[in-house]
Symmetry: C2
Amino acid sequence: MPIDITSDRPVFKQIADHYRDEITRGVLRAGAALPSESQMVKTFGVSGGTVRRALDLLRAEGLVVTEHGRGTRVRERGAVVRLASQRLTRANRAAGLGGFAADMRALGLDYKQEVLYLGNVPAPAEVSERLDVSAEAPVFARRRRMWGGGVPMQLADSYYPLDLVEGTPIVEEDAGPGGSYARLEERGHRLASFREELQARMPTEDEKKSLRLLPGVPVVSLIRTAIDTGGRAVEVFVSIVAADKHVFQYDFSAD
Amino acid sequence: MPIDITSDRPVFKQIADHYRDEITRGVLRAGAALPSESQMVKTFGVSGGTVRRALDLLRAEGLVVTEHGRGTRVRERGAVVRLASQRLTRANRAAGLGGFAADMRALGLDYKQEVLYLGNVPAPAEVSERLDVSAEAPVFARRRRMWGGGVPMQLADSYYPLDLVEGTPIVEEDAGPGGSYARLEERGHRLASFREELQARMPTEDEKKSLRLLPGVPVVSLIRTAIDTGGRAVEVFVSIVAADKHVFQYDFSAD
DNA sequence: GAGTGGTCTAGACCACGAC
DNA sequence: TCGTGGTCTAGACCACTCG
């Protein structure tokens, strides 16, 4: 309500500050409705466009969500899946399900895997750099979208050297029990280690649509390289993860 | 230039699409100037407000940066620091510098640590949950802002149980060679393992200012818990990292 | 139909940067 | 000084939700 017109802080930012403050202080709790835009126009004595810009800010920060015709509410935070590095240990892999399915089941969420593409593709740069192939060389790709609790959680693309997957169920819709890692080990490529590389950024338009991301939600690009006991990279896994639904956890030795 | 007025896609989004496309296709490279707003008004035949909203979108996506009086340019990506879990192994710690300083030096960036606060504070929830203390119990806090290459890279807060730091240089500005981990080990708390938990989100206003983040840049909240050989949590490290300047890397066994 | 958000205009005035 | 972006207004019209 103050809105200091003499301040050099723009009015729309002051309005955003006001509600940001109420949200972080807990005056407005998750799910609570903000006043309507026309109401704000009256209370603050500004034009509609100015109110709108204030709300644009709060949306971009991920603090509120707006539904056309219904109003603006404080964003509710959903369940967060914890992706621990232990999910990939041999013991857990032997339990049967792939890492993702196990995580979902642990949270009591129903799980679905949607295959988007299966086939050879020229290796993208981030793949050829890690897999032992030359740039643009053909590799086998498994592209899928992973669902948990009825919402898309991540886009997951796996890439394999051709010679490792030919004639295995990895090239099929269902890679079989234990997933593709089990198939690779059966073929004599015992896994020795993983490297995971993470970077957060804002999503592209396509990612936003495909993962049904709200405004103000970043993604984490996770690239996992699986190395066998011979030191060969046998899979590069590239995934785009909805940041508001995941925490990553790594435990490692201090020695 | 098309701008399909009959389309149900809003004009400002179509304009954003147009430039997003040119940027991702490489027609507009990093550092290249976009036309001025008034120029866009002419080319697209729309009002200034509409052009402005299109640019707001691109800024929020982190694709362009605008400087008042100078124009709008395609965002240039700076150097990215790779934070590998190996930076915390005993061998690397023994090398002398704390993890952050070593990372910066490896990139040839000058390094600075700015102490923001030193003293006891009531333990925040994320700290008391991990350190073995009750909620709000006093703990010793070291809050600092880490700089690399002349820009702020991360906000780093370390929290310690009081009995572990009393009378040690950890409570001083300079924690001494090898940093606070070396001091803890000298005191008989040999480090056994670390747990790191990462989550990405959009920054708060304060974080945005303090880290000088451009619009459309997320942060990664990294919480590291250091465990000694007795299984006791001896430090909780809470940091806010500028996502556009960092990649996180973890290597771990498949067994 | 009443109320809500979503888009767009035309124009005013201010603030910053470079020549 | 000129061109650039930054803020704000007043009002029009459209689209969605709910009773």
